[in-house]
Amino acid sequence: MNEFGTILSRLERELPLPQPARARVLLEVAADLEAFFELARRQGRSEAEAQRLALETFGPSSDAVAALVDVHGSTAARLMEVLAGRSAGLLERGLLFVVAVIVLFAAAPAFVDTRIFHDAGPAAWVVSAFAVLAVFIGLVKIYLLFLKRDHRPRQLRFGLEAMLWFTIAPAFLGFAVFLMDAFDAIGVVAANWPDAGGLLGACLVRGHAVLAIALAETLVASIFWFVVNGRVARIEEQNAEILLELKGDER
């Protein structure tokens, strides 16, 4: 596999991406090369021919690498890198756990009461549906990463981008509903000035209830996001270390 090591070293130097995206592209290309090499060998080709075919298909000048650069350089990918592209240390993991417990403890009474959902109206269910989807993907990923231990490089980040959007969506929707309700409230109060107090309260209750639900659910989904991303980043770091060590041995 000497040829692969040389190609990967060259690719690492030339990729127009910041870390850790560069390491990820490297891992994906390495996995593709290896998978194609194994396939060609199983088909009865010689080692040299299998290597040549793999390099022709997934070499650094191929469209596959260009596509990977596009994927890792996209807005969503950059957002993912900024929010949780790394593996967090023990201090941060501990901090997140304590923060999550306090926030859940503070928010729980309102949710147990369920009156907040009644006040929020149908918008709360739309907001909750996104959060539930994010948590569902999070649970599937936790099962795959922690229990089934499926650490295939190309599967590691599968679903994480969707999880990020489903995590952020409740917060944006919550703010949108809140602003619409605030706008309605101004109109109602202006038209009924003598009863402004009671009407203002009634109009703004829905917006604030939706916002509180949206933010609490975003925080819960964020915790799942943090756990899954941290695990994926740690696996990737370990894989990259192994890959670089192999490359060092080859040199």
Binding site: V82, A88, G89, F105, F178, L200, L219
Partner: protein, 131 residues
């Protein structure tokens, strides 16, 4: 301390994050001061801890505000009469968590920006020296 008590239970996680950002930043600076390029790359990745915790603080701050105002407005809607003092206290309490969350976020983002500029400058220096 008085401001802290006004904010209610959401002030505890925000204060914890604010306190934890100090050792996190010190650790980041320590990582970034390592001169090798490889260590620099690790520091570059670790820098993302600051915007992450900034965003979490902001979310908790807004959650505190929404939750506080929801409770206050619920009481107004229920009784239909506005007690200006009660409204003032409710709004003041809910604003404290938002202000606190925003302050933590702004400080975290500012430190992140400064460290990024410093790190980029150092990396360029190290690359120029290597070349």
């Amino acid at each position: 301390m008085q401001l802290f008590m006004m904010g209610g239970v959401f002030m505890f996680p925000l204060t914890l994050i604010a306190l934890a950002l100090v050792p996190i930043t010190i650790r980041l600076v320590w990582k970034l001061t390592n001169n090798t390029l490889e260590a620099g790359r690790i520091g570059e990745i670790s820098l993302q801890a600051l915007p992450f915790w900034g965003v979490v603080s902001l979310l908790i701050g807004f959650l505190g505000q929404a939750s506080g105002i929801y409770k206050g407005l619920g009481a107004i809607a229920e009784f239909g009469v506005v007690n200006p003092e009660a409204v003032y206290i409710g709004l003041r309490e809910s604003m404290v968590t938002t202000m606190y969350g925003l302050e933590i976020c702004i400080v975290a983002m500012f430190v992140w920006g400064m460290l990024r500029i410093w790190h980029t400058w150092r990396t360029r220096q190290a690359m120029a020296a290597t070349a």
